[in-house]
């Protein structure tokens, strides 16, 4: 793919599209949870109002330059990951970075947030970050193992090629159909990656005063909200690209996003919160062995 005007337009427009879909997903999430709890719930674009309200605060409090820069790194990192994940119509950056690059770029926003929260000098924030990093140990291992399995099976570490192969073969070649163990393991780890209950240990309002968000207000909190909305799109798109055959057009992508999101919300809505070490133990006892069995199968030639 060469650099062209189309690519340039995509570069400008893609974050906005992702943010809009994120807003709808977020609002749908709140509506869905409300309906599960037999309430009406806020309107679908409620996250948009939240973000506008936060970004328009008149006085903003920050604890230093690292705090400011960290929020920029937070959004920057997520948008950067966004660019490298191939979507229908825009896979320009896939030639410059494969899945290994994406797996590492996902860590950049967490690191940025961790540094910013560290500077706020609030122990609730530090505890929140410590929990976020510990959860990373929990969910990254099964997720990466599933990816390693898929890469070994297809002989490539490029996400774009994985998508092309799955689309060429139809539903029968989707990752979740050819390797259901890997797909299920990845889905469970996805629940952890997206910080949804029962793995929602980072933001624990009752235990640690919302963790990293403790000292964030105004535009800083607004930027965290924006990042969260884009991040849910990125994470689910990664899962869809690996196991659900990517998407040939945006309608298909949106349908798949909502489908996966509904599945995640269904679990999120009815569970309480694990303790950190319980969450890590669960992620190592259930999805990790599943993924290991799946990878063994691939190594032995089955599946």
């Amino acid at each position: 793919m060469n650099f062209s005007l189309t690519v340039l337009i995509w570069i400008v427009v893609y974050p906005i599209i992702a943010f809009s879909i994120g807003v709808l997903l977020g609002g749908y999430g709140r509506k869905f949870t409300a309906r599960v709890q037999r309430r009406i719930g806020p309107p679908w674009i409620q996250p948009f109002f939240d973000v506008v309200k936060l970004m328009s605060k008149s006085t903003n409090i920050s604890h230093g330059y690292m705090h400011d820069a960290a929020m920029m790194m937070l959004i920057g990192g997520t948008v950067m990951t966004l660019y490298f994940v191939p979507v229908p119509g825009f896979a320009y950056f896939s030639q410059f970075g494969d899945f290994l690059v994406i797996a590492y770029l996902i860590l950049v926003p967490s690191l940025g947030m961790a540094l910013g929260v560290g500077e706020t000098a609030n122990p609730n924030g530090s505890i929140g970050i410590s929990r976020a990093l510990q959860m990373m140990v929990g969910y990254e291992m099964p997720f990466v193992l599933t990816f390693i399995g898929m890469a070994m099976l297809n002989g490539t570490t490029s996400m774009y090629e994985l998508i092309l192969r799955q689309q060429a073969g139809g539903i029968a070649t989707w990752g979740i159909v050819t390797n259901p163990l890997l797909g299920i393991a990845a889905l469970i780890s996805l629940q952890g990656m997206m910080n949804e209950k029962p793995f929602e240990v980072i933001v624990a309002p009752h235990e640690i005063a919302t963790g990293p968000m403790t000292e964030m207000g105004g535009k800083y909190l607004g930027m965290m909200f924006i990042q969260h909305l884009i991040a849910i799109v990125v994470e689910m798109t990664i899962y869809i690209n690996l196991f659900l055959g990517g998407a040939r057009n945006w309608l298909e992508l949106i349908v798949k996003l909502f489908a996966v999101w509904t599945l995640i919300l269904s679990v999120h809505g009815v569970y309480g919160r694990f303790r950190t070490d319980d969450a890590i133990r669960f992620l190592w006892r259930v999805p990790l062995p599943l993924a290991a069995v799946g990878v063994f199968g691939i190594m032995l030639g089955i599946g």
Partner: protein
Amino acid sequence: MVTLYLLILPLAGLLLTTLVAIAGGAGGDGNGAGAPGAARALVLNKAVALLGFGAITALAILARGEIGAIVEGPVVLGFSLSFGLTPLSWYFVMMIAGLTFLTVVFSLASVRGGYPMYYGWLFAKTFGMFGVVMAGDLLSFFILWEVMSWATFFLMQQGTQEARRAAVGYLVYALVASMALFAGVFLLYRAAGSFAYADIAGAIAGFNIGMLLLAVALTIVPMLVEAATYPAHWWKPPSYAATETALTGYLSGISTRIGIYGMVLFIFVVFGLETIDRLWISTYLNLRVIIMVLAALTMVVPTFTALFQHDAKRLMTWHSIGQGGYMLVGIASGSVLGVAGGLFHVFTYLTYVALILFSIAAVESRTGTTNLNKLGGLIKKMPLSFLGLLFGIIGLAGIPPMNGFVSKWLIYRSLILGGHPFIALAAFTATVGTILSVYKLIHNIFLGQLPERYKDVREVGPVMQIPIVILMITVFATGAFPGLVLPWVARIQESLGLTPIAWSLTGVAPEMGQLNMAVISAVFTGTFLLGWLIYAIGGKRKHVGQYDNYAAGHFLDASVPYNYNYEFYSGIEHIFGRLYERPPIKRAEAGLVELLKRAGDFTRRIYTGHLNTYLAYTVVAVLLTIVILKGGL
């Protein structure tokens, strides 16, 4: 004859600094107490070191043109030693020279005790390391290996009582390894009739499996010990953590990696891949896979041990053990990307670990401690050290856009495409563990609340800032343009008879995979600007101090400790706590020490130390001799 001067200069430096130290009348407790002559001697030594190592670095750069030339050294026991530069040697020579020079510059300001022979031992160690990597035959290799081990011991033991004791621990491991190496060298000499690598490689081709196994055990295992591979890694944490912090950076950066040089030398040059592969148990399980599994264990276990440490230097030492695993796994895999990744990792690791440890040393020089439970909040007081540590930890964790990512990418790709998924998982687990512990490092030192006692701390002076800045630039530049160093790695691979990696200025050529670091760095900058734009859309902001903080309505001030430092990863400590407290290898080592002590106690019964017993022995021996002589006659 640049090669010759590369060996002579460090020796000359050693001689000069020793003379100056003796003349200065120092040599007492090693803490430079008292004598004004000692202070003058130290200043003179610093000047000698600065000039000497500057010259050595310049020579090392010049030596690039002399690759392939052999220098005949002195004749020892009838054998003539030879030294020469192969591409692999020059790679290591450049790294040694560069790091030592930066360490010397940094030490000028950071070393608090007036150790009289500090720079002398640095010269000695440089001589030893140069000799080892430039050795043209096995005898020179062994002799200079010994010199290097002893120099390391002397370098490490400077300072506190604890440093001395820990250095002795290192010496024990090093001597055992050296003796094994000596036996191995002797064995190979007997088989080949000469010490030259080519002759030995020829002789080895005729070995049977038993001899081959013995030869491998006697040569490669000492290299693994020197590279601190699990389970022979226990000498490293006490000794590296107790010594001067600037030295910890230096030793972690390059000293242990000489073991990696040895591994490459033995696996590819002396033995050769086909020979090594003759040792196998089943189709999948051969010696190289066993080394890779050991390397995987080396990556994972020490990295998670580092999580528990509350001393910054110990934490970094555990990391240096873990990162050695990456290099080993890359080299043992034998594939194009793997070997390139392992070799490149030596370089990237050196840059960022030195950067991290120099920042820690800077903090130590201002606050007097490296105890992570006591520090905090120094970001506002020491911003450059913070930035240095930040670049370093981003590199160590292997996150784009720093250079650590490139070498790790190469290694991961080689593992995944080479059919080693669980080792790739181990590598990734180690990365996640690294992120955890380095975040703890930077959080406990620079973030969080600033304790009252450190409110007057200032940033370090320019002498200490220069190496930090230089390393930061290196880490970033080689991250965006790994093609600055990769051609050298490719040349090394060619010289070893392997397929070289197809590199490009910004990463690898398209047929090797998708990696373009310049684009990644550019996107990084671009999206950061996007973040800045969104930030600017919001309203004005004001900066507040650390006491203006959410504490559920409580009024904060300096008397309230409002910080989270201790047991930073309590969830993981819950899970692994028991293993950490009584680690199996430590128990094995303790058991061995106990056994030796008992054996020593037993011999004490014979060598009792009493004069009477020895007289009795003498009398009995004389009588016995008379009886035997009389009886025999």
